[in-house]
Amino acid sequence: MVDKKDYQNTEEIAWCPGCGNFAIRLALQEALAELNLEPHQVVIASGIGQAAKAPHYLRINGFNGLHGRAIPVGTSLASIRKDLKVIVESGDGDIYGEGGNHFLHAFRRNPDMALFVHNNQVYGLTKGQASPTSEIGMKTGVQVKGVTNLPLNPLLIALVSGASFVARSFAGDKKHLKTMMQKAIEHKGLAYLDILQPCVTFNKINTFKWYKERVYHLEDDHNPENWEMAVEKAREWGEKIPTGVFYQKERRVFAEDFPELSREEIFDPRERVYCWPELLENYK
């Protein structure tokens, strides 16, 4: 049995005390251990931001790449290394802002990986500018008169782009979060989980309290195979904010015809030379 301590490392954590990220980290650690996955079997691909520091705070394989570019890294990795569990984990600015194009196209491909977005509705690491999910009116050092651009509804984008798994959870609801993570990791295809994550330093609107007052679990009568229902629920925001699996329906996974490469095949790609003579024939 894998223990969550197996995921523990000794790095000093650079998040602010009280930040929602801590609970997310713990939930992930537990989720993985309970799924009996060992650290070497899992990779986290992340971008840049507070959330994106995640792979440093666990003992786990990690590709901490560029701001906004975790999805392409995860996509190829999940497809070429079918033996690994790939998790893309980053912030809302990273995935929906800088990385928006990859977010949009990821669902079309449906690679077999999980996508966890720490959605604190703000740019944390760069000190509090609006993110694509910041609410209208939120004032920041850049949005001095308040945000005017309509916030993105990333769940809807996912749903209309052909997502095979769309879920939301909340950092203040750790048990639920852990379950959602597990479902996402077990899903075959791109499993997208938006995580409401209070930023205690810069987001004075969407606080723990604010979320707590609004968040509820999707009822048992919510049918995650019903796309229209999922859309309806995904449009709900404000007084009440649903969490849970909005939608799940398996479909063709990216590169599913591509074979699982063995460690030997990866290490020594030589065995594939057999058809060279045939190929050379084309050139005479």
């Binding site: 790449g65 074979p259 030589r270 594939r272 060279w276 050139y283």
Partner: protein, 564 residues
């Protein structure tokens, strides 16, 4: 040596005709060199292909045309002044009537005859029959080629057309094939690069379409299934390079390819390869810039850009293949260097090299070695694996992630040996030094420019070229030598880091000419940093067209004459 030019509108099928002709010539035992001049449009406009052939190796296009197959009047107008004195125009009198004097003309109603045979698409094959006869060449090889492509009625009609054209032609030129040419192949630069990647064991290729690099994407897509290569068209070039890096981190050999505009978008990813020490091969097929520039033309305008691209400082290698076979072998080498030194290797090609076809001698792909450097399949030491362990040579063992009980962490922030973010001055300094340390060994490994010609002491001038200019410059050099003008030629392929060698001393002492397909002389600028000084003569071209051997020869001759 003859040059056959086929010109017309985009969409008139010049490529098919050209390919059939080139293959037929190849199988008969000629050296062949083909090049393409096409517009950034799908139909209309003016495009042309040159097929040069002869009994000696050919390495460049030429300004002169022996046979012009003009599919429309415009072709005739544009190219009539390029024809040799003994040249011949081949055309369809139903298309146009070439007025005035000028070269000999052979009109034949290709289209009408094709329609008579029952398929207007074979007009081109009729013309090929005619051309075979003009050179006194048997059409048998072409028949074989057609039979590999077609069958049944279509094949019959093609053969009929070919025979008809052959009957109607008249012998005019004659040239002996080279009996030694056995097993040679005719291959384009782009296919050669794709082939090199195959031979190197590439398992992942991601790209976004961009002329003139798309040929490599097409090649690998076609071979993907057979060779177990995952080929993906990305949503943009940023995704392409980051996908390739993800795959490389995963342990497979990965590559991406693009042209200047796409390379611009990959610049940040290039630095990611640099700081994470993730091996990556990047093809930049150059075309004239800035920005969109001339999408289907050629230039050597990106050299200093690719050398300095991305913020901060990190080692990289830039290789500019000199010809088609070299494009193949340098690609294999690029993968080996990328893994040996754990860094990005840029293959700097261009439209001229990518789209030209050249005969290459027989070779065994399996003779090209794969060297994966310090890649570890497994790790079983006591101490935990550290991705960025400090070592003597600055290169840390690289573990394929997934090894039991070990984790592999890479980071685009400055990091410690374990790959974790750090900010302290001491670790930063050590990591910069670890990364940069590799430069020395790499510089030693870089090959000095290839020297061609009589000993430097014996020549009047040394021509200095890089990348795909090799062929045209060589043709010029040999041509000059035939006329008694002795010049040497340094051809750079390993261009960054700039290799050390005797060439530095030679160039400091001798007069030299710089030949570049750009405006500002970018190799020249690298040489100045080495205190080689300025060239006596800078032959530059930036109109989007490649140099030809005869053009360089003429210009150098003038120069030598002027200088007395």
């Amino acid at each position: 040596m003859f040059n056959i030019r086929i010109g017309g509108e985009a969409g008139q099928g010049m490529n098919t005709i050209g390919t059939l002709l080139a293959k037929s010539l190849l199988r008969m035992g000629y050296h062949v060199f083909t090049s393409k001049d096409y517009m950034s449009r799908i139909r209309g406009g003016h495009n042309f292909s040159d097929i040069r052939f002869g009994s000696k190796p050919l390495q460049s296009g030429t300004e002169k045309v022996d046979i012009l197959l003009a599919l429309n009047k415009e072709t005739w107008e544009i190219h009539k002044n390029s024809m040799t004195e003994s040249g011949l125009l081949v055309y369809d009198p139903d298309d146009f009537s070439p007025e005035g004097d000028g070269p000999e003309k052979a009109g034949f109603p290709f289209l009408k005859k094709a329609e008579e045979i029952g398929d207007k698409r074979i007009a081109g094959v009729i013309a090929l029959g005619l051309i075979h006869r003009i050179f006194d060449l048997s059409p048998d090889h072409l028949k074989k080629i057609l039979s590999e492509k077609f069958s049944g009625e279509i094949l019959e009609k093609n053969i009929k057309g070919l025979d008809l054209g052959y009957q109607e032609g008249e012998e005019k030129f004659s040239i002996k094939p080279n009996p030694d040419l056995k097993g040679t192949k005719l291959i384009s630069g782009n296919d050669a690069i794709g082939f090199g990647a195959l031979v190197a064991g590439v398992q992942f290729y991601s790209a976004y379409p961009m002329t003139p690099s798309t040929g490599v994407l097409n090649f690998l897509s076609a071979q993907g299934e057979k060779f177990k290569i995952l080929v993906e068209q990305a949503e943009d070039e940023i995704a392409a390079i980051n996908m390739a890096l993800g795959a490389s981190y995963g342990g497979v050999r990965a590559m991406t390819g693009t042209s200047g505009g796409g390379f611009s978008l990959m610049v940040e990813g290039l630095g990611l390869s640099g700081i994470t020490e993730t091996p990556l091969v990047i093809l930049n097929g150059q075309r004239p810039g800035p920005a969109t520039g001339l999408p289907t033309r050629t230039e050597q305008g990106d050299l200093e850009f690719v050398i300095h691209a991305s913020q901060g400082e990190f080692p990289r290698i830039v290789l500019a293949p000199r010809d088609v076979f070299n494009a193949f072998s340098q690609t294999v080498r690029a993968f080996n260097l990328a893994e040996k030194y754990q860094l990005p290797v840029i293959i700097l090609s261009d439209q001229f090299l990518g789209d030209s076809e050249q005969t290459i001698s027989d070779f065994k792909p399996e003779d090209f070695k794969i060297d994966r450097g310090k890649l570890l399949k497994d790790y079983k030491e006591e101490k935990p694996y550290l991705r960025y362990r400090y070592t003597e040579d600055g290169i840390s063992p690289r573990l394929i992630p997934g090894a039991k009980d070990q984790v592999v962490l890479v980071d685009s922030d400055e990091h410690n040996e374990a790959g974790n973010i750090i900010e302290d001055a001491e670790t930063r300094t050590k990591m910069v030094e670890k990364r940069m340390k590799r430069m020395e060994k790499i510089t030693e490994e870089m090959e000095p420019p290839l020297y061609k010609g009589p000993k430097p002491e014996k020549v009047e001038l040394i021509l200095v070229s890089w990348g795909s200019n090799f062929g045209p410059v060589e043709e010029a050099r040999i041509g000059l030598e035939e006329e008694g003008i002795k010049v040497g030629h340094y051809s750079f392929v390993d261009i960054w880091p700039l290799p050390r060698g005797d060439w530095e001393k030679t160039l400091k002492e001798k007069e030299w000419a710089l030949i570049e397909n750009n405006f500002s002389g970018q190799l020249g600028s690298l040489l100045q940093k080495r205190e080689i000084g300025y060239p006596e003569f800078f032959l530059k071209k930036y109109d989007g067209r490649p140099f030809t051997g005869d053009e360089i020869k003429r210009r150098i001759k003038e120069e030598v004459a002027n200088r007395g």
